[in-house]
Every structure is written in structure tokens, then in C-alpha cells.
Amino acid sequence: MNTNDLLNTVRDFVDTNRRERITKHESLKRLMKKLKIKQNLLKEQVKNENNKKLRKRLEEKIRVIKAQRKKGLKLLKELKSEM
């Protein structure tokens, strides 16, 4: 570990706000990943669904997840810039 990395680790540990932001960033990233998986799963389901009504519902779900992901990615960006 070089000096810079070591300093960063020490700073992460001492600065509570920064530590909080990191935790927030990590859990948000985890959530985004989960949502992405769900979105892909729903896309697969849409492809295989013959019932028009059910397909429409699945598409609606995808639209909502997209909006949530859009919001989440924006937040991730903001957190990253603050770190």
C-alpha cells in the first residue's frame, strides 16, 4: 500500500461524514444492481408472455424500475462527486 492509499484509508476511518457517504454509496450501488437484475428478468418475462394484459403489467413494472434506477444513478453520481 503506498502512502496515498494509506492516507485515504485513515481519512475514511476518521471522517464520519465521508464514512457515511461511502456506506450510502455502497448500499445504493447494491440496490442498483438488484434493480438491474430485476429489470432484465422482467424483460425476459415480457418476451415470453403471450397474455396481453399481463405483458402490459410487466412493461409497466419495467417503466417504474427504470424511473427508480434513473433516480438512483443520479444520487450515486452526486455521492461520488462529494467523496
Binding site: 450510502k24 448500499s27 440496490l31 424511473a67 427508480q68 433516480k71
Partner: protein, 607 residues
């Protein structure tokens, strides 16, 4: 098991009795009409609860002497202590008076009824109030048809009295076959044995004739033709006094515990006085002679002496019982405890856990989840469905659209009072008590949020109650459009519950409270007014105007129900990991963002 076979057994026995004896049929019909009269009377007095009648009654019975005077006057005017007793029981059941006041009235009425004996013995006069039964029924029913609450209540009182008289009339008619078989000379007996036997005959005769006055007439007639000795006649009067309580006992069958206690106090009054008089017959005869001589009654005027005896009997009863009223009340309360309604209580909230923040939060969460479970049961049954529809893989559209039968309805008000409100009240009290021990603001916030969950659930139950009436009407309607609209509401509510169940189970990692956003979007997208569907249905004459109004109102209820459930689920079933919870909350869509998604959808759909 016994409960299940009780009713069929009663029906079988009654049917057998009807087949066996036409008189039995008349007697039981009389009892049924009498009890129906009691119900009508109680309903009538309920209309006056909290009003002028209650105030007047309270004022005229707030002291024992006032209650006694009230009962005495009422029985003198009505010439029937039994009638005053049953009316007092219905006053008590309607909560217009208390048990002590009721006892005062009944004791007073017992003395008041002795004026009848004076009228019979002195003038051979018999006031027959039962002649008014038919006009009472006619006028009563006309009053019931009136819109005013008080006229309606008055109508029920008149009808109730009419039915009471009619019931007594039929009971008498039914017993007439037995009445002719009573021949007093057959039982002539001296000494204590005679007193006992004639008291029993007096009880029996009064039960059969449903009137102590009728027994008194019989006794006076028998005495005048020397069919019975003077001593035996007095025993018959004791029996008549005890037997007359049967009407009050019968009347108390439809009343609450207080009414039953009152009827029992009347029985105790008469039985106590009866026993005292039976045991001291000779001194009592001496007392009657002294009093009779003092008021100028001839030595051999046994009929008037009988009236004196009747009066002394009831006055003595009052003298014996009044000093013990308080003890009698506590005795009656002990042997006839009030049957408190089965109220669901909190299971997880203990005072010990209120002191420890984490334990308090967990206890409230568990209790709230329990409240949620009870509420879901109520909601599902309110929608005429079974809880199994909420299984994750169940196809709600198919199940609900194809279910045409209505599940036996439940009284949501009753369930709310007994199960939901009681637990919620416990939660609210517990949270208030544990607020001081919450050191960290986060803990307090969590507690207050859980309290919000309870409020959402209560609001949901109220919404279901409002929705239920039209839901029952239209989900089985011939008009397919209105049926579909109401089924859509059922489907959507179930969809929210189904999603909440999946989130709660936590088996599907990808389903979090964020999935609730999808439901919020759906509710907005399917709004019958915003989408113009309601206008279209009206324009194309597919639904009537009253149906349209119902739909407008009920769609507001249904949306509130869904929103409350979603809001509640977002708090109750949020991730247990605090960091994940924060992340989920930060990504969850707010109202504007939901509307954006909906607008996008509408735009796409119109393209």
C-alpha cells in the same frame, strides 16, 4: 358440539310439541309474541336514550324513595306490576336507568299493584288495560312509519306494549284448558302443609293465568263461597305474589345482564317476603286483624282483609329489602357477572419492554404485524374472498372475475371494535408510555411511524366498510360493466395485499418496498375519472346515474384503501438493514415522479 346441536334440538322439541298439543302451540306463540314485544319496547326506548325521557327518568329515580314512588305510581296507574317490571327491564337494557333505580321502581310497583286488590275487594272493579292492545298495535305501526326518530321510537314503544298484551293474551288462552282443572277444594289442608301447598297452587295459578289480579279474583270468589279457608286464601295470595314474577323473568330473556339481575331481584323480593310470611303465618294473621280493625274493616269481611294482607306483604317486602339494596346489588353482580365482549388484547406489549428502546420497538412492530394480519383477514372477507387468494402465484383476475358468490357477510363494525380498535388502542398507549425511554431520536421516529401504520390499517378497515355495501350489490349485478368496475377494485386491493405478503415473506430478494411504486402507478393509471372511463360508461348508457355516483364515491374509497395499505407496507415491511432501508427510501418515487411515469404511459397509449 353442544352449541351446534342446541338450536336444531330446540326446533325438534318445539315441532314435536306443536304436533302433540294445539294448546302448547298457542302458549309458545304467546311467549314468542311477548318476547318480540320486549324487543320492540327496548328499541323504542333506545330512541329516547340521552333525551328528555332519560333526564326525566334520572331525575325521578335518583333517590330510593323517588324510585319507590315512581314504581308505586306507575303500577297504580297501569294496574299491573308485571308490566311496570318489564318496562323497567327495557329501560335498564336501553341504559336509561341503573340497576339500583330499577330495583326501586320494581319494589315500588309491587306495593302499587296492591291498589288493584283494594279495587277488586272494595268495588269488584277490574281495570283491564289489555283491551287497548289492538289499538296500540295499530297506532304503533303508523308511528313506526314516520320519519321522525322520536315518533318512530314512540311507535316501537306502543307496538311493543301491544305485543306484550297480545302475547299475554295468547298465553292465557293456551293455559285456559288447564285453568278449569284447578279445583281448590280438592287440596284443602290445615297447618304449615296447607300454607305450602296453597302457596304452590297460587304460584301455578298465576303463572297459568299470567295475572296476580286474576288469581286474586279467583281467591276472593273461592273465599266467598267458602271453597277455601281464610288461612289457605292468604297462602294463595303469597303464591300469587311469587308467581307474578314470571312475567319479569320472561321479559328479561331478551335483555342484557342488568335486566336479568333486575328480574332476579324481583324474584328474590317476592320469595323472601313469601318465606317470611309462610313461616310467620299466625302472627301475620294477627297483624292483619289489628290493621283491619284499626281501619274499620268488619271481622268477617275476609275479602277486604285479603287486600290488607296483600298490602302488608308487599310493604314488608320493601321494608326487608330496601336496607339491603347495596348488598343485593353486589350479590347479583357476583352471581351474574357481566359478559364482557370478547375483546382481542395485545400479546407482545409488556411494561418491562417499554423501558428498553430496542425491545419496545420490536414489541410494537410484532404487535403491529399482528394488527396487520387481523386487518387483512377483515379486508379479505369484506371483499367476499378468502385469504388463500393472496398466495403469490394465484391469478387474481381469473379468481375474482369468476367468483360470483358472496361469502357470508361479517359485521365490520363489530370486528373493528373487538379486534382492531382494542389492539390499536393498546399500541397507542404503549407507545405513549415508552416515548420517554427513547434516548435516540431515530428510535422515537420509528415508534411514531409504527403508530402511523396502525392508523392506516384502521382507515383501511373503515374504507372497506364503506365499500362493502355497493360491492355486495354490484359484484353480482346483471350489468357486466358495473360488475367489472367493482371487480377491478377488488383485484387492485388484493394485488396490493399480495405484493405486501411477498415483501413481508422476504423470499424474493428482488421484491422490496420499491415494488410498491408500481402499485402506486397502477392506481393512478386506472383512475376511472382521470382516464375518462366513467364519462364513457355514462355517455354510452352502459351504467345508470346512481351507478355512476356509487362508482365515483367508491373509487375514492378504494384509492384511499390502496394508498393507506401501500404507505403502511412501506413502513412495516421495510428492510431490516438500516443502510438498505435508507437506500430504498432514497430511490422510492415521490408523487411527482409517479405522475411523470403515469403521464409517460398515457402519452404512449395515445400515440
Amino acid at each position: 358440539m353442544i352449541k351446534k346441536i342446541f338450536l336444531p334440538t330446540i326446533f325438534l322439541l318445539l315441532t314435536y310439541g306443536f304436533w302433540l298439543s294445539p294448546d302448547f302451540k298457542v302458549i309458545t306463540a304467546g311467549v314468542a309474541i311477548f318476547l318480540f314485544g320486549m324487543l320492540a319496547l327496548e328499541q323504542g326506548f333506545n330512541a329516547f336514550a340521552g333525551g328528555a325521557l332519560e333526564r326525566t327518568l334520572r331525575k325521578s329515580t335518583n333517590k330510593m324513595w323517588k324510585s319507590l314512588t315512581f314504581g308505586f305510581t306507575a303500577a297504580t296507574v297501569m294496574q299491573s306490576s308485571s308490566l311496570v317490571s318489564v318496562i323497567t327491564i327495557s329501560f335498564l337494557s336501553a341504559g336509561l336507568i341503573g340497576l339500583v333505580e330499577g330495583m326501586g321502581i320494581i319494589f315500588g310497583a309491587n306495593v302499587g299493584s296492591t291498589t288493584g286488590a283494594w279495587l277488586i275487594a272494595g268495588f269488584g272493579l277490574k281495570v283491564k288495560i289489555s283491551a287497548y292492545a289492538m289499538p296500540m298495535l295499530v297506532f304503533g305501526v303508523i308511528f313506526i312509519f314516520q320519519k321522525s326518530k322520536f315518533l318512530k321510537g314512540f311507535g316501537y314503544i306502543l307496538t311493543g306494549l301491544g305485543f306484550l298484551f297480545l302475547g299475554i293474551h295468547y298465553m292465557k288462552e293456551g293455559f285456559e284448558a288447564f285453568q278449569n282443572q284447578i279445583s281448590l277444594t280438592d287440596y284443602a289442608m290445615e297447618g304449615f302443609g296447607g300454607v305450602l301447598v296453597f302457596t304452590l297452587i297460587g304460584i301455578l295459578a298465576t303463572i297459568i293465568m299470567q295475572s296476580s289480579h286474576a288469581t286474586l279474583v279467583l281467591v276472593i270468589t273461592a273465599l266467598s263461597v267458602q271453597q277455601v279457608t281464610y288461612g289457605n286464601a292468604l297462602a294463595l295470595v303469597i303464591g300469587a305474589n311469587v308467581g307474578t314474577t314470571i312475567t319479569a323473568v320472561l321479559g328479561s330473556l331478551t335483555s342484557n345482564t342488568d335486566g336479568k339481575r333486575l328480574a332476579l331481584s324481583d324474584v328474590l323480593f317476592k320469595v323472601t317476603a313469601g318465606i317470611v310470611f309462610m313461616l310467620s303465618m299466625n302472627p301475620v294473621i294477627g297483624l292483619v286483624d289489628t290493621v283491619s280493625a284499626a281501619i274499620g274493616i268488619a271481622e268477617d269481611d275476609h275479602t277486604l282483609k285479603l287486600a290488607v294482607f296483600h298490602t302488608i306483604f308487599n310493604v314488608t317486602g320493601v321494608i326487608i329489602m330496601v336496607p339491603f339494596t347495596a348488598r343485593l346489588v353486589s350479590f347479583l353482580k357476583r352471581i351474574m357477572p357481566s359478559q364482557a365482549p370478547q375483546v382481542e388484547k395485545a400479546r407482545y406489549l409488556s411494561s418491562a419492554s417499554a423501558e428498553i428502546p430496542a425491545a419496545a420497538i420490536e414489541a410494537v412492530r410484532k404487535e403491529t404485524v399482528r394488527l396487520y394480519d387481523l386487518s387483512v383477514d377483515t379486508i379479505i372477507r369484506g371483499l367476499s374472498l378468502k385469504r388463500s387468494v393472496l398466495a403469490p402465484d394465484s391469478k387474481l383476475d381469473d379468481i375474482i372475475n369468476n367468483s360470483s358468490k358472496t361469502i357470508l357477510q361479517q359485521d365490520i363494525d363489530d370486528i373493528y371494535e373487538r379486534r382492531i380498535k382494542s389492539i390499536y388502542a393498546d399500541i397507542v398507549v404503549f407507545i405513549s408510555q415508552s416515548q420517554n425511554s427513547m434516548g435516540v431520536p431515530n428510535h422515537l421516529d420509528r415508534l411514531l411511524m409504527l403508530r402511523e401504520v396502525g392508523r392506516d390499517l384502521v382507515e383501511t378497515i373503515k374504507g372497506i366498510k364503506h365499500l362493502q355495501k355497493n360491492l355486495n350489490l354490484y359484484t353480482i349485478a346483471e350489468n357486466t360493466d358495473i360488475r367489472q368496475e367493482y371487480n377491478n377494485m377488488r383485484i387492485q386491493i388484493c394485488r396490493v395485499l399480495q405484493e405486501l405478503e411477498v415483501i413481508r415473506a422476504g423470499d424474493d430478494e428482488s421484491t422490496t418496498i420499491l415494488s410498491l411504486d408500481q402499485l402506486k402507478v397502477e392506481i393512478n393509471e386506472r383512475d376511472i375519472i382521470k382516464t375518462g372511463r366513467l364519462d364513457r360508461l355514462i355517455r354510452e348508457h352502459r351504467i345508470s346515474a346512481p351507478m355512476a355516483i356509487s362508482l365515483m364515491n367508491d373509487s375514492a374509497y378504494y384509492q384511499d384503501i390502496c394508498r393507506n395499505l401501500i404507505h403502511m407496507g412501506g413502513i412495516l415491511f421495510i428492510s431490516s438493514d438500516q443502510d438498505d432501508e435508507k437506500a430504498e427510501n432514497s430511490v422510492a418515487l415521490d408523487e411527482d415522479e409517479i405522475n411523470e411515469v403515469v403521464d409517460e404511459y398515457v402519452e404512449e397509449a395515445t400515440k
